[in-house]
């Protein structure tokens, strides 16, 4: 495995909004604390989703992105993953990236489970491995058995979640980017999945994870980064950052 790193220098990300009645947004000041900053430049409305973000992550670091809804956690992950282009600043990523975002969405209900596996393998899989290997791995892990030969539309939500999370966590990468819930299925499957993700982490050099679940974050991460309205409030050890986050909001929504 090669050494991997992520380096962000003075990143700004400005997302243009195209709404028919853009100007009306500015009559309301109700969402002051949620989301990035809404701005209006020459009649064009945009969100400053990330502002002046700089940090470096090196091999072996597991970073948790913490912040309330719309603070920019997912946006930052997508920026690191190369899905969003930075408006200003420089992103330098070394190592292969594995994104685990919204795992279920790419699955077409008409495909059978096996076809899904094959399709995902063609698009994102390791070209050195056969898709049969992946299929075997997923079949064993999900315990879906003969159901893999049926179209996904016949699956229950839990079965579908098992399939998608198993496919998403099958591929090894140097850098893992995980957004929110990869938690799926019942309790025993959750535990199994957690072991699988830990297995993935052993071969990955870096992890960046966004979640609201402190339990999940404590399970995987060592460092924390607190985001608020697209700005970095604090970087430090996970516990410090979680404390700061809790004190800034009150403990109310930090159960789980």
């Amino acid at each position: 495995m090669q050494a991997c790193s992520i380096s962000l220098q003075n990143i700004h990300l400005r997302i243009p909004l195209f709404a028919p009645s853009q100007r009306r947004l500015f009559n309301k000041e109700t969402f002051a604390n949620v989301g990035g900053k809404l701005n209006n430049v020459r009649g064009k409305v945009h969100v400053d989703a990330l502002t002046d973000i700089s940090f470096e992550l090196n091999h072996g670091e597991h970073l948790a992105l913490i912040g309330h809804n719309g603070a920019g956690k997912s946006t930052l992950l997508k920026l690191i993953g190369g899905i969003y282009p930075p408006t200003l600043g420089r992103v330098a990523v070394q190592g292969s990236i594995g994104c685990i975002f919204d795992v279920g969405a790419g699955i077409s209900p008409e495909m059978t489970g096996l076809e899904c596996i094959k399709f995902q393998h063609t698009l994102f899989g390791d070209p050195n491995n056969d898709w049969e290997m992946l299929a075997e791995d997923v079949a064993k892990f999900t315990e879906l058995g003969r159901f893999l030969e049926l179209p996904v539309r016949t699956y229950s939500n839990g079965m579908r979640a098992r399939l998608t999370s198993a496919i998403a966590t099958a591929r090894r990468a140097d850098i893992l980017l995980i957004d929110e819930g990869i938690g799926a299925g019942d309790q025993s499957f959750q535990e199994k999945l957690s072991r699988r993700v830990h297995g993935l982490l052993e071969s990955a050099g870096l992890l960046v994870m966004a979640s609201h679940s402190t339990k999940l974050l404590r399970n995987y991460c060592t460092k924390g980064l607190l985001l608020e309205q697209g700005r970095v409030q604090m970087i430090g050890s996970l516990e410090e950052v979680l404390d700061r986050y809790a004190s800034s909001r009150g403990d109310a929504d930090l159960v789980s």
């Binding site: 899905i83 919204d102 008409e110 698009l123």
Partner: protein, 283 residues
Amino acid sequence: MSLVQPTHPSNIHRFVDELLSIFPESVKTLVEKPLRNPHIPISLAWSEIMQSYRRSVLGPLWITLNLVIFVSCLTLVYGALFSVQSQDYAAYLACGMMVWLWVSALLTDVGNTFINYAHFVKNTPLDKSYLICAAVIKQTLILAHHLIVYATFVLLGMVKLTVYTFLAIPAFLILFLMSIPVTAIMAILFPRYRDLSRLIMSFMMVLLMVTPIFWQPNMLGGWRSLLVHVNPIYYVIEFVRSPLLGKPVDQLSAAVVISMTVVFWVVGAWAFRRYGKYVVFWL
């Protein structure tokens, strides 16, 4: 679902390397990844076609049947209206329609590429050039289904094979080449300007009628023949249809189509490199 794997990977790779070295950087962003991993766009295109026809008895053969039904019904009416031989008219109409369906897809369907694949664009690092190529390969697969109709015509002797017929191969190749940058342009414009697809849609029927597909270009006399000659779609149709019907390609059509291809490549490759990364904000 079978994936095409290069038989001699090393040779293919060397060929691709050499091919890429002569392209400018902007063209490379559009073609490099699909050329190196052709199985990705092929499998995207194939699975899309298979899925839209899943659970139907005829499956993708519906593409063929659609053309058959269209050509038979129109031949019945228009063959009589224009009092031409039904056989000739059917062949003329079918060949014209095959190209028209491709061109109309370039004006409408392919523009929705990123919109249809929004999940990939928004959630995965899958390179957008794969999606562009997948859209063009999908058109190729559709054309392959249409060619069944053409092959039937040849077997029935309704179309005569001549030396010019072979020109259809480079003609299709150029059409394919032209489609890649056109798809890139349309796929970037459509998500950004959501009215554009509606606007074009409302002109499609008119375009089909004013382009010589149901009728011969020489039927329009006098100043009205201008309507044919300023229409770029006419040249594209003529460029592919003539060899299919066993006739020589006229030089003007070839010149127009080839220049269009060059211009589209310059604009399309630039647009894709410049604006491709912003598409994610427009979905």
